[in-house]
Symmetry: C2
């Protein structure tokens, strides 16, 4: 005789397994799918989505949840139930008609966005974006249950956070980031790598570095793709990478970034495999792992010392004077329009801009017809120069075209969390730099695995960070880290 909890967990395990299958279909599409298979693949994806949607809204899940006796459950089991209940409520609040309509419109919108971006023509995209915004407002209203619509949207990516909390946090970040950007860009530019860097050598080096950062190749693999990404949970977590012949940092740091995501998934407690607890808890906490791997560790002066000899072994003369020059080159701050190419100083300004605009869009403070002008005005205010064309501005990111509203702020939340984790890590491992300088990442990655990664979805995002660091997350460690690091690098 099974209990409602047993039934619930058996159902959740199968759903988790099917989600892995659907996710791997996405990996396949980006890496190995024959190019003539697109039409068939979209039917396959839609069929898998149909299966998953039916499972997520299965009325038996509601019955089991209602019949559950929670007195006898452990803290872990209660966390499983909490995540199952959230997913069930989320899935059942949105009418099937609306979900299907969003899928239909965003699938079309992505193509229209890509064409508009190529043509540098926001007006060609605006009517379609307006349709997406309208549908997402409707979905948000269904999800919000009478509460704030943008808050409801945030729960898909960062459960527990609100728009007002973001507003306060980002309001404290913005002036100090703007001031730091201004001060840094007034100084002479950093040295840069020049030349062409052999692809095979780049591949060998990035594989070695992936291993150094703890990526387990027995439960993963590295393939080439147009965009770097990490995919899958548990025993099968794959990353992709790409090579830029004149910029070895591109492959190297995108690999370290994806290894941060992948290590989080690989290091979740095996007891949680294929359960709701068995994955990273939120987009923001996920990004904290990729960012601390990439930036606080991977772009540290100590690690660049180790990398200097590795890169010289791999590529020969780098055209740079010494380790300090390589450190400066890996941390160069340059004018630019594009979020994905931004450095640590400017990246969050890109996010703050998008967060404010999308929140205003959802709350109807602005409409899509106002968006391009609002973007350009804000960009000039925060970056000090004007957007030259829509593909460098409002059209640069895919997110809104595919209906991702509430997603952008998790990038900056991840950076804020990474700042907190880095502060606590430095206290826990006082000789960290000596290890980093020797290419020994284990003290850092072991600490992150033990304090954070192994717990998967056990705690809510903010509690996950607080449990790891011992205090509630704030922006202060990130700001202090950035001001100290770039102050020294640029002689401020």
């Amino acid at each position: 005789m099974t209990t409602p909890f047993d039934d619930l967990m058996a159902h959740a395990r199968e759903t988790a397994a099917l989600e892995q299958v659907a996710g791997r279909l996405g990996w396949d599409q980006e890496t190995v799918m024959p190019r003539g298979a697109a039409a068939q693949r979209s039917e396959e994806m839609a069929a898998m989505e149909g299966v998953l949607h039916a499972r997520r809204t299965d009325p038996r899940v509601g019955d089991w949840l209602a019949a559950l006796e929670t007195d006898t459950l452990t803290a872990e089991d209660l966390a499983q139930v909490r995540l199952i209940r959230r997913a069930f409520d989320r899935a059942t609040r949105v009418p099937a008609r609306l979900s299907a309509e969003i899928a239909r419109v965003t699938s079309r919108a992505q193509g229209i966005w890509a064409e508009a971006r190529a043509a540098d023509d926001f007006d060609a995209f605006a009517p379609t974006l307006a349709e997406v915004v309208s549908l997402k407002r409707e979905e948000g209203a269904a999800l919000s249950n009478g509460g704030d619509v943008y808050d409801a949207m945030l729960q898909d990516y960062e459960p527990g956070i609100t728009g007002n909390e973001l507003d306060a946090l980002f309001g404290r970040l913005r002036p100090r980031l703007v001031a730091l950007r201004e001060a840094v860009l007034a100084r002479p530019p950093a040295p840069a790598l020049t030349g062409v860097f052999d692809e095979a050598a780049q591949m060998r080096l990035s594989r070695k570095v992936a291993g150094v950062f703890g990526y387990d190749m027995k439960r993963g693999r590295v393939d080439k793709a147009v965009h770097p990404f990490s995919s899958g949970s548990g025993q099968d977590v794959r990353i992709t990478t790409r090579t830029a012949p004149t910029d070895p940092f591109n492959r190297l740091y995108s690999t370290i970034h994806e290894v941060g995501h992948a290590a989080y998934e690989q290091n979740v407690d095996p007891r949680y495999l294929l359960t709701p607890l068995g994955s990273g808890v939120s987009m923001g906490v996920h990004e904290s792992q990729s960012r601390i791997y990439e930036n606080q560790l991977g772009r540290s002066r100590a690690f660049l010392g180790w990398l200097w000899s590795e890169m010289r072994d791999a590529f020969g003369d780098l055209g740079l004077a010494d380790e300090d020059s390589l450190y400066a080159a890996a941390n160069g701050v340059h004018r630019g329009y594009i979020r994905t190419e931004a450095d640590e100083v400017q990246y969050n300004l890109h996010i703050l801009l998008r967060t404010d605009l999308e929140r205003a869009l959802i709350s109807r403070e602005i409409e899509v017809s106002d968006l391009e002008e609002a973007w350009n005005r804000r960009f000039e205010a925060d970056f000090g120069y004007a957007v030259d064309r829509p593909s460098n501005g409002v059209l640069q990111d895919v997110h809104w075209s595919v209906g991702l509203f509430g997603y952008f702020p998790t990038y900056t939340l991840g950076n804020v969390y990474a700042g907190c984790l880095h502060g606590a890590l430095r206290k826990a491992v006082p000789d960290l730099d000596a290890h980093l300088a020797a290419g020994d990442l284990a003290p850092a990655t072991d600490w992150l695995r033990d304090k954070l990664q192994r717990h998967g979805g056990l705690r809510e995002p903010l509690d996950t960070i607080a449990a790891a660091t011992g205090e509630a997350p704030t922006e202060e460690p990130l700001l202090a880290y950035l001001e100290t690091k770039f102050g020294a690098l640029y002689g401020l």
Copy 2:
């Protein structure tokens, strides 16, 4: 307002799409899956099987079939309905408890078989095989609806054929195949390729040959795997291959064989994409395509003329005197125990042996405890020498351990069908050899596509062959082809 037929087809399309997803999971497992992902993968596979089983037994399918008005349906639509009805009846006749038990036992049995084969110890496998046989007898009884149990099993692989028909057909094949084998093996052996053949050159040549045989790389890809296989239908049909450094024929002919399977799937009418008609109609007809590509075309004297210069370009001196020697080497008949290594003369004797034994097992004429002795007795009778150890005898094939009973005879049916198709092709394209000698396979592959492949599951297997050749299939063309070809090669 949709009709029951519309509902039935919409459901069938989604099922077909999900079957493609499940199949690709199998491809992934054999080619790119991280080796540490096996446990998670088996849960993923089981979850997909659960989804497919629920769809196949969905009571709505029964309702739609019952409500269907067939008067207005086209011949194609009627064929769709016929296949849907067959799959529904098949799925609903077997109790869920029995299906689950078979899945559980065969999953375990495969490992036990592999260990027993490695240890050359049939007794270590026999009790488990007895369990499998007992469960498969029970399943066959459920499927047979009071009819013959082995006949019911055959329907999973070759719908429309019966054990008695096989008995008659194979009874006519056996004496002439035994006589041909005896006569050939009494003659001096054929010349053989010697040396080591560069892997990259083997890869390039096999890719070129795959293209020559019409494999469409835009809707496919070639990867390395332990066993060559073809996977998928429609727009995404992938093949695998392997390289033997001292035997370039291994990779070359296994590639041509898999291209035969893959071309059949790629060439089905695109209107049938992701429907029951959208795949090859049976295992036997599938094997007819792989075999005619590999043997009647790929091992023909004319094609070996073209291959002679291609192989010399790829590998340099082959250590053979001329085109005739290469033709003889590609068609060498040697003593051996292993089905998968057998030549055209001996291959079907392996199948006849297995078919008779498995039919006797299912009908309880013999039991698992009699199997090894029965195998060895029959082998010596047909091959003229004794089995030296179980791994060269009764333990050599995986099929029975995973519950495949009724599958073996489709290999020989495929060869018989290939013989019929080859006869008709030669009449339709009198100058075929001139094309083959120039490496131009198009007249053959176009004919097969037009006469057979494009129709997918439209007609029953025997009708599929009869529609292509203009007459009911018999063993005579295959036997005449083998006796003529090997009579000439071995100077009989």
